[in-house]
Symmetry: D3
Subunit: 212 residues, 6 copies
Amino acid sequence: MGIHKFFTSLNDLERIFRAPGRFKFEEHNVAAHSWKVSQYAMFFGTLEEMNGAKVNWKSLYEKTINHDFAEVFIGDIKTPVKHASIELKQMLAHVEEKMMENFIKEEIPTEFQEIFSMRMKEGKDNTLEGRLLEFSDKLDQFYESFAELKRGNTDKEFVIMYQQALKNLLKMPLPVSVRYFRNEILSDVIKEDTQINVAALTHEILNKLNKK
Amino acid sequence: MGIHKFFTSLNDLERIFRAPGRFKFEEHNVAAHSWKVSQYAMFFGTLEEMNGAKVNWKSLYEKTINHDFAEVFIGDIKTPVKHASIELKQMLAHVEEKMMENFIKEEIPTEFQEIFSMRMKEGKDNTLEGRLLEFSDKLDQFYESFAELKRGNTDKEFVIMYQQALKNLLKMPLPVSVRYFRNEILSDVIKEDTQINVAALTHEILNKLNKK
Amino acid sequence: MGIHKFFTSLNDLERIFRAPGRFKFEEHNVAAHSWKVSQYAMFFGTLEEMNGAKVNWKSLYEKTINHDFAEVFIGDIKTPVKHASIELKQMLAHVEEKMMENFIKEEIPTEFQEIFSMRMKEGKDNTLEGRLLEFSDKLDQFYESFAELKRGNTDKEFVIMYQQALKNLLKMPLPVSVRYFRNEILSDVIKEDTQINVAALTHEILNKLNKK
Amino acid sequence: MGIHKFFTSLNDLERIFRAPGRFKFEEHNVAAHSWKVSQYAMFFGTLEEMNGAKVNWKSLYEKTINHDFAEVFIGDIKTPVKHASIELKQMLAHVEEKMMENFIKEEIPTEFQEIFSMRMKEGKDNTLEGRLLEFSDKLDQFYESFAELKRGNTDKEFVIMYQQALKNLLKMPLPVSVRYFRNEILSDVIKEDTQINVAALTHEILNKLNKK
Amino acid sequence: MGIHKFFTSLNDLERIFRAPGRFKFEEHNVAAHSWKVSQYAMFFGTLEEMNGAKVNWKSLYEKTINHDFAEVFIGDIKTPVKHASIELKQMLAHVEEKMMENFIKEEIPTEFQEIFSMRMKEGKDNTLEGRLLEFSDKLDQFYESFAELKRGNTDKEFVIMYQQALKNLLKMPLPVSVRYFRNEILSDVIKEDTQINVAALTHEILNKLNKK
Amino acid sequence: MGIHKFFTSLNDLERIFRAPGRFKFEEHNVAAHSWKVSQYAMFFGTLEEMNGAKVNWKSLYEKTINHDFAEVFIGDIKTPVKHASIELKQMLAHVEEKMMENFIKEEIPTEFQEIFSMRMKEGKDNTLEGRLLEFSDKLDQFYESFAELKRGNTDKEFVIMYQQALKNLLKMPLPVSVRYFRNEILSDVIKEDTQINVAALTHEILNKLNKK
């Protein structure tokens, strides 16, 4: 089969839900998540460019649009599993890669195989675009958990997810974006009316990082 | 407020559903749709480039990612309304534009306002990228209606939507993409097992267009 | 086609959801809304009659049952759009009317066309029944937003919707009904256990109106 | 408590689903059902009036709007249970009545108790309005099962429900309405494209009734 | 038909939802409920055995697995209806029994009829296993209402359900299990972060029971 | 924490859905699946016993009730992933085991840890009970895919799942159960009205196996 098979598989990502098995007030599918990540990247790419960076826009957008396509093969495996051991993480990454290779060989027309292989590679490398992808991906985790806490979801997992995402965002090697996130976005986040005390959860992390 | 407000508004597009009021076996939200349109554009942009065209990739991706953001303000108005009269269409477009302008003035930080204004403009212009956006947007309509017909949705609206999208795709001023769609994709579509006779619906349109 | 087409179109209103794009703990469709509006009208019509008014019951019930049927054509357009400009509002009303006329001409059997045209007209006129329809329609907005606030929906839109509906209800030219709503219903509303402080939101509006 | 309690209980009927436990492509709640029944009654009342009958419109609409309110207390008990024995049916009706009485005594303000008692009585009596209520209620069963069969629901229950509703409609002591249903509506129904052969199921019943 | 019919009917219990008509943040079907009841019984049976009791495990598991199968015939009738009168309760139990008998006679192969009749009997008798079933069934009501209160469901019914289940659990003639529930489980429950004050609701019941 | 944590984790399995990412007319959660597997095992255990086998009922029921509890940690990983390589399968099994051990050590009270460890072990061993578990688990896959095909799901995956489950069931080392399944159940399955030709898919497998 040709590209038709690939196009219909896009629809599958509308049925893969993030954070499976957790109680949530609102579900998010991987297709919509990928779009939001692209939007965040568009903004922070612009910000970096305004501050003198050279952005490879084609690469940045292709990274964000494609970064979770492989979930079509393996689903959204629970985070604790992925981090259970370095070996498992590597093996899962390896399986994902093999399934992707296989898919490309069988479903993608020959003349597009090379370009697909390159685009579907793990995008979170050390380039500016790779770091912006990682930053944007974390930011969506930040916003997803924020929305649950705002509406009063008392499940511990979302407190953990919120604080983890926050900590990771603040540590990213993207000084301009991190500063903007810290000074502009966090100050608006803290002002919001929320059912769970998000401001306190945020200050806890900020204080911890400041001490170091 | 700053960009935080814009980022949380992205979540709203996960709750705007396409083709409201119609019975569907599967719902599609505007966020996921925008992602699929970006994927189609990535493919057809590549195809055009392989055939000698010069693609402005930054523009193409920004067009596809942003093309339905304005639905945050007006929702997914039913198609027959939009096409009820040229005046109404223009007035709705005008209102949309005004609401966008207003939103940008009030919610987007000053230094990003100009760039947001440009990106949020109607993207379906006569440039190659504008035509690829329109082609990709129609293609998603094609695939959404195809999936309903495949599963046996007997509602007339999806037959109409399928044939309309097909007709519009075949008429697009993008000869390379149209040829590929016609020769490669349609021939795979026709071979699928479907509950509604999609092959017949397709041939009907192909024959009509051939006669002219 | 005959009345069968009209009967099946009723089902479409079970798929048009109110306040599209907003996060809600509970969705409400237009069919169920129309029924609740009829129930409120039954109560307040009775109250007005007990206080000496002459109610045209046939007209009152037909107004409430039919008042949102036209959403079958245009969907539930977001409120801010409807109020964006007087021109747009008039044009949308005009389009709605034209689509209704057209529907009646094409789908309703000739002998029923006149009676349908009369029943499907905009019902919120200055008659007692027209005012009771408007009052009942606002009351459902009041109860929908109240239920969200009660369960802790922190989205600003429901605070605005609640206070707007409350303000409009208290200003309606229906002194007997307004007094009953204010003295009996609001006092029960204020006593309820709610996640968001509804009592405070209510007093804020009552105080504002008292000052004038 | 006062009428506020009654008004919030209306919302409960949006969460009582018809035909519980059956696989359906589309769910229907009791609130939306009551509205559709009111619409059917509006049409057939008009038809009867055009043919010389005297319709008490106030009574007709109040019957249709209120006819399933008691499900707030007992839910939508499965049909086979209701018909398991005459004794059980009577006892359930009796319990329903007692719960309604109790509700009215405790929740409805004294001055409205008598009028509520009258309105909430079983409406399917021998008056023209009582028969129109029964006809309209059956018609919704007819349309609900028709929609499932149209989309290919293979569960036997919907074939049974369709044929049962059809048989009951044709036997109703409302000659004008029955004739219209038979000549106009059924002929349109039979012409529709359906996944299950609805035309055959319809002819089977028509033939059986003709033989007698 | 043979056992195939019985096997497909199991699927129906995935569509019968508990506490119909109530607003809930999360729905629970009867199939999943039966599984959770089996899990609770496994634990408390083990606890009783460790404390010297003799458990008939085969009987215990069959009781828990089968205890709500009859809802396939009657649905989840609202609790207040079941308790409206002793007569009605008996009659409903009688109808349920008759429908079960009938189902076994018509759908279960002859050689299995006797064994099915025994297994599908009301299991809440005075045996240790019967009491463990009742305890486990109440415990699920306890956990279902706890989860709603934890997330901030303000509907009175869940406060009532929580306190009722708690009271009934503490009164069960199973001293070892009750003591464990009171000392171990309740103390963990009270420590949880909850939107509604569950600790206060719990102490209220504990104090009432202590006074007696 | 004590057993309270384990009891609340049961609720998580109501949110893990089987066959994630596939289009289905009906979703099935792991809790409900576990219950259905227990029901099948009850039947086939009885059948085996009637034919002279000695069934350890306590073990059989505990195996079926617990067999998918570990999905609480890893979710329902897509089948193709699990079978991608023997190494990965083993490593995933290993991780699952480690997470279970960890959970037991941290959440289960000391005196119950040993018994939990034994019960939560992989149950599909060579004992009669282990084979009955595997047979019942496959049977649910058979019924889940059958239900999709019956309603017209055209996705290839369900044809594959149906035929795979059928083939595996027929090959199980449980001659009495297999014979009953083949002679009694399959003959009823084949007689059903289905949208996809299930009889043909069944005969195809039966013929293949007969040839060997």
